[in-house]
């Protein structure tokens, strides 16, 4: 009986962890996805969120607003996946820096690995300073958002 209860509790704690992770992933996707849309609208960057949906999307849509909104939805899905990966493997790192580095790594994966593979957009060298700085910043902040939220929730931090 007691054992069963303990198991149940463990199960509950586990589902709580994944529930929290899901909520962080969704919010990260919504907030930073919409922000990347805003940066595109303000013409800070040449690439809108539609690139995230490009492999699955009718090519006519890619430069239209519908395409970008669908892209935001895909961005949300990706950020949920990224959050789950962080919770699974990187939860033990404390402080904001782990999240920032995670963001930079994600940026590297998307623009140096997936981009040449799936032809999402121009190579990084040709994107120009504006677009690149906006993209790096977005990934850094998304990583920080995901990493620090997870790390504060599941670690007890007592420095200073």
């Amino acid at each position: 009986m007691v054992e069963k209860e303990g198991k149940n509790q463990q199960k509950e704690a586990k589902s709580k962890i994944w529930g929290f992770t899901l909520s962080i992933g969704l919010s990260a996707g919504v907030i930073w996805g919409l922000l990347s849309l805003l940066a595109y609208y303000l013409q800070f960057t040449d690439i809108g969120p539609s690139i995230y949906a490009k492999p699955f999307l009718n090519p006519d849509y890619v430069l239209k607003w519908q395409g970008h909104f669908i892209g935001v939805v895909f961005f949300i899905v990706y950020s949920v996946i990224a959050t789950f990966i962080y919770t699974k493997f990187l939860v033990k790192f404390k402080g904001p820096w782990a999240g920032i580095i995670y963001g930079i790594i994600l940026w590297g994966i998307v623009f140096f690995l997936l981009n040449p593979l799936l032809k999402l957009t121009k190579p990084v060298k040709e994107l120009g300073l504006n677009t690149n700085s906006v993209m790096i910043s977005l990934y850094i902040l998304t990583g920080l958002f995901i990493g620090y939220s997870i790390s504060v929730e599941f670690n007890t931090e007592d420095d200073s």
Partner: protein
């Protein structure tokens, strides 16, 4: 080399001196009150500087053939109460007092509520300097401390910086006792604890830590007490601000790491949420801990209106604050790179150009506005109208006519400054201004990358800031859905039945 040795020697000697002093202090603490009035006076009089300073008084009196010595500070003692007490004593006959004079007086003849017996000279000295009446009686080994204090103070008034249209109009004053009473009046809970501490070797300032014992995080209370006890300073003339700098550490961050309030209702609301409040005597502002960035964006007014109106007010405030930070640098980008402007906003951008580049116009405008703000603080009110006239007509209009400013610059500067004034926390308004200047510089020198990285660096700095072990940007980063919604929407109070998790409350549910 030689000088270093000398220095070390000097330091060594200083240390020794300090040790002697400490020993003296310790000896002094142990001195008991003597049976003979004369001996007590011999120790106390030179120590307190009786006859040297005019405000500490020793009055020798004789009641029923017994010698008394009364010590008090003449500015604090309430003469009505003193007269009453002395009248009673003067009526006494010798038979009524002997034997057990002290007991008789203490139990029967002293017509006052707050009376205490003390045993040591040091306690007597502390009591005298805090404004109480200390009564020494010949042939008694104890002295009586009678609380006849009446501190010079004003009555509670509505604080200037936190006005509301409707709601209570009382505010904290400079007297600690009034302030704790104003809070206790709102929370009649026996679990509300008010602990008193003293800080300052010379000033001996009273500091009170208030919290709900079964709600507030005991770790936080312990941390705060520890930090306050560690403070080593001669005095706290600037009250809570000095204390804050000791509490949250030496930091060059311009952002306010604790929140101040002068409203007892705001303080009580935070106590109920599980925050810890720190009162400092001689200051009408109390410190609310722990604090995050978003605590500075809330105002009592929102909770005085219906939830919808409150939410609307809050959103307007957010828009004002966001534009106070981002509007100027954003516009500067489009001035520097006009082809990037979205088509919908084609009409903006300076039509006429001035001799001075836009960036310098902003900087001159910012500095000018700050000079004006400071002038407004120091101007006596009869001259305020004249100053308003100078500010609006002369500087604004004529500067455009002469060609110093482009009209659009004035428009955006005014919007940004209005947003700053709409920030409920004055400290945060100033800090946001520094952030705006930083972004302006970054944008001017590095265009879009400067702006984008500027914002990123700002966010990273804010995220990694911690005030008393609390992440500063909570509940945005680290994210907390419920708390974030509570900031975006001003929820109806019946639905706010959970305490915010950031204070680590011992029980989450509000009753």
């Amino acid at each position: 080399m030689n000088s270093m040795k000398k220095k070390m020697k000097l330091q060594g000697r200083n240390k020794g001196d300090n040790k002697d002093k400490d020993d003296d202090q310790k000896n002094f603490e142990r001195i008991k009150i003597s049976k003979h009035l004369k001996e007590n006076k011999e120790i106390l009089d030179p120590n307190l500087g009786i006859n040297e300073s005019f405000d500490i008084v020793c009055r020798d009196m004789k009641f029923a053939n017994k010698n008394f010595a009364l010590y008090f500070v003449n500015g604090f003692a309430d003469s009505n109460i003193m007269t009453e007490i002395l009248k009673e004593l003067a009526k006494l006959a010798r038979e009524e007092l002997v034997p057990n004079t002290l007991k008789q007086i203490f139990e029967t003849y002293l017509s006052h509520i707050q009376v205490e017996k003390i045993l040591t000279i040091n306690k007597a000295k502390e009591a005298i300097l805090s404004g109480q009446l200390v009564m020494f009686i010949d042939l008694e080994q104890e002295a009586l401390v009678i609380d006849v204090r009446k501190y010079p103070s004003r009555s509670p008034e509505e604080p200037d910086t936190e006005r509301v249209v409707r709601g209570s109009r009382d505010g904290f004053t400079e007297t600690l006792l009034f302030n704790t009473a104003l809070t206790r009046r709102r929370i009649r809970d026996e679990r509300l604890r008010m602990e008193i501490l003293h800080v300052g070797d010379r000033s001996k300032t009273d500091i009170c830590i208030a919290y709900l014992k079964d709600v507030a995080d005991p770790g936080l209370v312990k941390l705060i007490k520890q930090k306050i006890e560690q403070i080593n300073i001669d005095g706290l003339p600037m009250g809570e601000k000095t204390l804050e700098e000791f509490l949250v550490g030496k930091s060059w961050s311009p952002f306010p790491l604790v929140r101040y309030t002068e409203r007892p209702d705001v303080a009580s609301a935070h106590l109920l949420e599980g925050h810890v409040i720190i009162y400092v005597d001689t200051s009408p502002s109390v410190i609310i801990t722990p604090t995050t960035y978003f605590h500075h964006l809330q105002h009592a007014e929102e909770y005085r209106q219906t939830p919808i109106i409150g939410t609307y007010l809050r959103w307007m405030r957010f828009i004002g604050i966001i534009s106070s930070i981002f509007l100027l640098p954003l516009w500067l980008i489009y001035v520097l790179e006009p082809d990037l402007l979205p088509k919908t906003f084609d009409f903006i951008g300076p039509k006429k150009t001035s001799e001075i580049p836009i960036f310098y116009q902003f900087i001159i405008g910012e500095l000018g506005l700050d000079v004006m703000r400071m002038a407004a603080i120091h101007t006596p009110s009869p001259l305020a109208t004249a100053m308003g006239l100078i500010a609006a007509v002369l500087i604004g209009e004529i500067a455009i006519e002469v060609g110093w400013f482009v009209p659009e610059v004035i428009l955006y500067l005014s919007v940004a400054v209005l947003g700053m004034y709409a920030t409920p926390s004055y400290e945060l308004g100033l800090a946001n201004k520094i952030a705006r200047m930083f972004l302006l510089f970054a944008t001017y020198f590095f265009k879009i990358p400067g702006f984008v990285f500027g914002v990123t660096i700002l966010l990273i700095l804010l995220t990694s800031t911690r005030s008393l072990n609390t992440p500063y940007l909570w509940p945005f980063i680290p994210f907390n859905f419920h708390a974030f919604m509570a900031i975006l929407l001003r929820k109806p109070v019946p639905f706010m039945n959970k305490r915010p998790s950031i204070v680590h409350p011992q029980n989450q549910e509000r009753q």
